[in-house]
């Protein structure tokens, strides 16, 4: 379960539960699965077939592989090399949710937008959706902890209308969190 840890915002979580219902309302599986190969996906397996992952997501993962080549001081300001485990944790998490959303919705590319997959100077990796009406930041370290932390915000122009810090299980799909992901726009 995603656990909001910002108590002040707990009461607002239910306001976006509508998308949870939307997630299950369209569980028809009537789409044709889009099969393709992810080439050289690092640390998961090479040439893994990921039939349910939208092309935009796999392309973004492929583009992000430069992160693994960043050596110490890659920002010229003392940044650590990026942990392979942190990168793997981030990409596996993204693929898992992309597959879940496609399982439910079909392979309409608009249901899950591709995040920025980015290096952090402490060696961790962020998934970041910095969008017009919403924002989501999830940080992945090389820790074996079961949970990862996130910050979620919805906004109207520059004004934030809802936000919350929270944590979500790293390896287990949570449909409420999936509903957050498809709410991003």
């Amino acid at each position: 379960m995603p656990t909001p840890i910002n108590k002040a915002d707990n009461s607002k979580i239910d306001k976006i539960n509508y998308s949870n219902q939307r997630l299950f309302a369209n569980n028809s599986n009537s789409y044709t699965k889009n099969k393709f190969v992810i080439e050289h996906l690092p640390l998961i397996e090479e040439n893994v077939e990921k039939p349910n992952v939208p092309l935009l997501i796999t392309e973004k993962i492929t583009m992000s592989k430069y992160i693994l080549d960043l050596k110490y001081n890659w920002d010229e300001d003392g940044a650590k090399a990026i942990s392979k485990n942190a990168y793997s944790n981030a990409t596996e998490f993204l693929i898992s949710y992309a597959e879940r959303i496609v399982d439910v919705y079909g392979d309409d590319k608009d249901h899950l937008l591709a995040p920025s997959i980015s290096p952090v100077k402490d060696g961790s990796v962020d998934l970041e959706w910095n969008l017009t009406n919403s924002y989501l930041l999830i940080n992945f370290t090389d820790s074996k902890e079961d949970f990862v932390y996130y910050y979620l915000a919805f906004k109207d122009g520059d004004k934030i209308t809802f936000d919350a810090n929270g944590q979500v299980e790293r390896k287990k799909i949570n449909d409420k969190f999936a509903s957050y992901l498809i709410s991003l726009s």
Partner: protein
């Protein structure tokens, strides 16, 4: 001796560049290395804003161009080699938009002055700090909100794409 030297320099700095209070209408300029810009959206990534003491330049004493020029007078971390200012772009942060961060942040004017000027550590009257944990105990709000609020003031897509096409030399 070391402590006395620091105190003397602090006193000198305060005489030459007195510290001022940063108000909510201030704008801070933050330099962004090209490795920390998203290659599709072309936005600065949240990883830029993790430092507990985040260095910026205050618009009271600087401009985006001056901030970028100063980068070229700084040493690359751990070396005696000057940074290439063309590896950096500049974004702006409005202090008024960052007053409700969690954890709370302190905006501190922190001018840098040495006489004579130290190579690799240029004098900078506008130098300021956003002080506070940016993602303590899993609370990513501060880092996320800074990332949301930054806007480019110097960015060139063509130069950026040339930079990412060729990796940085190993230092």
């Amino acid at each position: 001796m070391k402590g006395k030297k620091l105190t003397t320099n602090s006193l000198l700095t305060s005489l030459v560049y007195p510290k001022k209070i940063i108000h909510s209408d201030a704008i801070l300029y933050k330099f962004i290395h090209f490795n920390t810009i998203d290659r599709v959206s072309l936005k600065p990534q949240a990883g830029n804003f993790k430092d507990e003491e985040l260095s910026c330049d205050w618009n009271k004493y600087s401009t985006p161009e001056k901030t970028r020029d100063l980068i070229g007078q700084q040493f690359i971390h751990g070396t005696q080699t000057l940074k290439n200012k063309n590896h950096y772009f500049i974004c702006r942060l409005e202090v008024g938009q960052l007053l409700n961060l969690d954890p709370k942040q302190i905006f501190k004017h922190d001018p840098v002055f040495h006489f004579p000027q130290k190579k690799g550590h240029p004098n900078n009257r506008s130098h300021s700090l956003i002080i506070g944990k940016k993602d303590a105990k899993g609370i990513l709000k501060a880092r996320g909100q800074i990332s949301m609020n930054c806007k480019w003031v110097i960015f060139d897509e063509k130069i950026f794409k040339e930079l990412i096409a060729q990796p940085l030399p190993i230092i």
